[in-house]
Subunit: 421 residues, 2 copies
């Protein structure tokens, strides 16, 4: 089953990141379907028509997001109508609901929103819990050399919250019911080994799989700020066979990558660290310099992080390192703010100050400025302490400011994870 996604909206072509494509791609992958194409196209009718025609001819399921709003540049319904030669009618019930929506918000109904009740003939109306434009699902026949092929089109609103809710309630169950055979996917999340090294390490397992199971196994490796995801999927007709293969591969990868594996699927370093701290009923505090609060921010992205993160002090100047954390002025003068000694004093001080079980400190040069002859951009010291012991590790990250900061955040979280294992 070939599925493709069309995302409409001029903003997607002028720099706005398409997060809808990420959501849908990841969803399909996890239910064993494959997304074949994603096309971003503006709200020009001629261009959308071109993209729709290509999609209709090459794919079985076409998902379109965006262009269901009330303004003149919302042209999805009328363009589909022209493309498929399928008439549109104004649905009374939908119109009623839209009017109610405005009434509930204490606003008068703008005439312009009438347009959102325009429905393709025979389309199923998909309720929108978070906005005025309903989704639509249309089955239609496509003629390819006189053979009729049944195809399905989904129209979804562009705002992520509305799209996600309609996708989860309608598109996902539909696609799940259409799974031909069985396909299961796994993502193994790794930290502490370079991407090229991971590739080399796991090659024997992949080669064996390719030889053993032919084309039913697929692999991919993704790397982002030193976090590596080894993804694979197994498909077949027999669930027992699929599960066996999955387990064999998982075991193969685990034997090789060992404790560098920090989780599976959607697990992040921050979520894993959170689970470990909650499980062990331990608390942590942070003293951040070059990461400027990003470790703390990443940890507190997770709900319930208040159970284990007590506090974090961002000391972004020598003065505040001395004043707030009691780092010795002489240490900064002799060794520098970016040094093993400063990281050590920072972490020991924050541990004491916060009375937590663990503490972590980071000091480094994120760049672009700040490098000296001995201390290049990317040099980062990370300290970790509990009541018995303090350790400091030296890292040299590469890339621009953002990458160096992100790698320092990830290395810090990974260090906490390893010390908790």
């Amino acid at each position: 089953m070939k599925i493709e996604l069309i995302c409409t909206g001029s903003e997607l072509l002028t720099g706005t990141i398409n997060t809808n494509a990420g959501f849908i791609g990841s969803k399909l992958y996890n239910i064993g379907h494959e997304l074949y194409f994603v096309t971003d196209v503006s709200d020009k009718k001629e261009d959308l028509k071109n993209v729709l025609s290509n999609a209709i001819s090459r794919s079985d399921v076409i998902i379109v997001t965006g262009g269901l709003g009330p303004t003149f540049d919302d042209i999805t319904v009328e363009t589909v109508s022209e493309c498929l030669k399928r008439p549109v009618y104004s649905d009374e019930k939908v119109l009623e609901n839209i009017k109610k929506y405005f009434l509930k918000k204490g606003k008068t109904f703008p005439e312009i929103n009438k347009k959102q009740a325009n429905i393709l003939k025979s389309a199923k109306i998909l309720e929108n819990r978070f906005g005025t434009a309903p989704g639509q699902m249309l089955n239609f026949d496509f003629k390819d050399e006189n053979i009729k092929i049944r195809k399905t089109l989904f129209l979804l609103p562009g705002p992520p919250r509305e799209m996600i809710s309609i996708f989860n309630e309608n598109v996902e169950p539909f696609l799940k019911s259409y799974s031909i055979g069985i396909k299961k996917s796994v993502s193994i999340n790794v930290f502490g080994v370079a991407e090229s090294e991971v590739e080399e390490l796991i090659r024997p397992v992949i080669e064996a799989a390719r030889f053993g199971y032919n084309d039913t196994v697929k692999f991919g490796i993704l790397a982002n700020d030193s976090v590596i995801k080894v993804k694979f999927s197994v498909s077949g007709q027999d669930e027992i066979f699929v599960d066996e293969t999955i387990n064999k591969l998982k075991l193969g990868f685990t034997n090789i990558l060992k404790d560098n594996i920090f989780g599976f699927g959607d697990d992040t370093l921050a979520s894993v660290v959170g689970k470990l701290l909650i499980g062990r009923k331990k608390t942590i505090s942070l003293a951040e310099s070059c990461t400027g609060g990003k470790i703390s921010s990443t940890i507190t992205d997770i709900a319930d992080s208040s159970l284990y993160l007590k506090n974090s002090i961002v000391v972004y100047s020598n003065e505040s390192k001395i004043k707030l954390l009691g780092v010795k002025e002489s240490s900064i003068n002799s060794f520098g703010a970016v040094s093993k000694q400063t990281a050590k004093e920072m972490v020991e001080s924050i541990l004491k100050l916060s009375s937590t079980d663990y503490a972590l400190s980071v000091t480094g040069i994120a760049g672009p400025g700040g490098a000296t002859r001995d201390k290049p951009v990317g040099l980062v010291y990370i300290g970790f302490a509990d009541k018995k012991k303090t350790e400091v590790f030296r890292f040299l990250f590469s890339g621009v400011r953002e990458q160096i900061r992100n790698c320092a955040v990830n290395a810090s979280l990974d260090l906490i994870r390893r010390r908790l294992m």
Copy 2:
């Protein structure tokens, strides 16, 4: 000139966000060109061929990213070769450079990387400063009903750093030289007014422009965590006319949106706050609760932020509010940790503790848990203080945890901006 982008790589279809498309879309927009289509496609030859053929028939310039690596699923060069019936040769100089690249890193040259020296006949080789795969630029003729049309194809590597460097050095200058007529783009960045309100407010200016200058003016509005971008572009043959129209529109929008405009183009709230603080030689400190370090992290994303951010304390527990900031236990007991009083004590304490010119505090309920009958998820108090005065503002943000945190970060930065103006 129709430009389109093809991004290859299975990861783009399984959940990885396509940041290359964002970069290229934004770049083209800013130099007055328009991106017509973005297609994400996996590394299956048949699918890439389909996408390439569509692109070649409908666009004048086709930019392809990814698939230039050494492994078996890097198929861009061979697929283009088949599509355009253009032979490929192994370039000796390129091969030499690749070998040198490995030598410099102290690694032996892997035979598999030989493939990266494969160049399309007559293509211009575009040097890659950050990796082994060079980019390629190919001019070719496309026959449309017996009329030959000159088209241009760029092949760029997928890793952002490599792609960006080759894009900036080669693709951008090429496109700049091809600008037909003049097109200038402006983005007006707004905070403090709701998206729907902005739309209503600026409609008269837009209507006047549509009536006055026909189709040469284009508008769009983007909203993200309460930050709104009003984008418009003006095109024409006469630079004086274009500039005049731009200025007229800018003035029109400025008269309406006034000090809600915080910047233009790539300006962010954090960069604007940074410039204001540097310009006034002032320093700031932060006390964060529900934002968990994200304000600090956003401020320190900017290079040179150490000139104005002295420190930030993340107090993620009542205990740390009391211990590190001296918030009165009685205040927390009587008013709650999320209250005007707590925000006030937090900001006054951090100002004193840090001896900065300004200080800001945030306390709120990011959710999903933590709400009480009187205090819903999304309730946030932001305090601002200088040596003379303390103010506390109450906000009620909507959305999920991530949105509430981001809106609180943006509202905090905007508050600092307004107090500095």
